[in-house]
Symmetry: C2
């Protein structure tokens, strides 16, 4: 989105899930698209691709404290459509039986593109965003990062456990528990450093991260990579000082008044790539 | 969708827009995807592509009597993203200022794929469907078919008026006027014969169409083609005998008890292709 982010119509794309008040309810809406060769490997099991498509959308609902209601599918016919739909059904059942309400299918040349729109119901209002962190808050994360990186490597190597990459978990229950308490929250889809810097920018603060406090699923010598890899879908959030999270979580930093850089790692600005940048 | 229509998860894809009750309101939801080289020409103005993407989605809301609320965009970066977004903004403004709430952008090789999810609010309940026609009803259409065919030919030839193909109209106002009265209604996106046969199948009836009564935008010698071309987005609907439409419309047939064929044209079943079949 960087390429077109300056267009007034483009605000909000690739951002937090959207919020829409309807009747007496508040809906949370999101759409994610995945393309063969970009977001999944051509040889991957279509059922895994469908699972991940559902999980990434559910992970957009999670930081909003939303409960899934329904999805719409955009499906380019592919190698094994029945396997894809089996995976989709299984994933929807896993995430609270959100209904597949409709969508569109197309037959087209080129890499397969699949998209999903997910609609949820906010369980707490106001719906939290990534933009509410204040100086003095503590930064937390629900679990380790780097597992998807190891899973991706296992998938490419054809050996080892690739499930963290193929079938990530969206933390809907944790999101619903956290929504009433957090000052800011988002899912970590593009790397903890990059997503923390987005939270800092949206909140107008600087976030100081304690490098060794971030839980990682990798060997220690790969810590810097684990902090820059996405696809883990942990929840990153800030709580006012003294408030403890209602679910398992790790304290990894502190929110400061805005300084030059959006994030500090062990007290210093971070140079170079922070994580996965979208097209 | 024919290829995967037998999968239980696939019911409802490529069908009527979906209906979801939320917070005292009834939402109408739809998603359409358009692919370069399949649904639009590679050399088309991106602003026209955006306009058509909005119009096709709005045309799914129209037969539900829905008022547009919001859209989510799935956008593969292309040749001129600013032109696309300009066209999108103009079309959204045209259709009642539906808000672009969010979405996703991807950078990918291969033909450009763009998708839109549209969300509207039902103005009348129960929300009409294509499945309510009963023997004795009359079949109506809001206006001529074949204009998009001529527009497509003009666009390919590089001369003449191609606007009906490039910038179709979605009949939202007509849909809202019709919703309280119709027994069945749908938009004509794939050809009046094919869409009438779908209405007949969904309603469990046979629909007898008077070939010469169907208004066409083409010369008379192209009537049979005009009845099979899509993209005109007229509304096709049935009314109980004696009920007159509250908007301009043409009576083109009569609903009969189910016989062998879903539709009869001047009293005889139609052989061969009825219209545009999706992948």
């Amino acid at each position: 989105m960087r390429a077109i982010a300056t267009h007034p119509a483009a605000r909000g794309l690739n951002d937090d899930a959207a919020v829409l008040d309807v009747g007496g309810e508040t809906l949370v809406l999101t759409h994610d698209t995945m393309v063969e060769g970009v977001h999944f490997l051509p040889e991957q099991d279509p059922a895994d691709v469908a699972w991940k498509l559902v999980a990434t959308n559910m992970s957009d609902l999670a930081p909003k404290g939303a409960q899934p209601l329904a999805v719409l599918l955009s499906y380019q016919l592919g190698r094994d459509d029945a396997a894809f739909l089996d995976g989709l059904q299984a994933a929807l059942r896993h995430y609270g039986d959100a209904a597949l309400l409709g969508g569109d299918t197309v037959r087209a040349p080129g890499p397969q593109s699949v998209g999903l729109t997910a609609i949820g119901r906010a369980t707490h209002r106001p719906v939290p965003s990534r933009g509410g962190s204040a100086a003095g808050d503590a930064l937390w994360i629900t679990g380790p990062v780097g597992a998807a990186m190891l899973g991706f490597e296992a998938l490419q190597a054809g050996t080892g456990d690739s499930s963290a990459y193929r079938r990530p978990s969206a933390l809907l229950t944790e999101g619903q528990l956290l929504a009433p308490l957090v000052s800011a929250i988002m899912d970590v889809s593009d790397g903890v450093l990059l997503d923390a810097s987005r939270m800092a920018d949206a909140s107008g603060v600087t976030i100081a991260i304690d490098r060794m406090a971030v839980p990682i699923a990798t060997p220690e010598d790969r810590r810097d990579e684990a902090l820059r890899w996405g696809d883990d879908y942990q929840l990153l959030f800030t709580l006012p000082a003294g408030v403890l999270p209602p679910c398992p979580a790790f304290r990894i930093g502190t929110v400061l008044q805005r300084q030059g850089a959006p994030i500090l790692l062990d007290g210093a600005p971070v140079s170079g790539r922070l994580g996965y940048e979208h097209g």
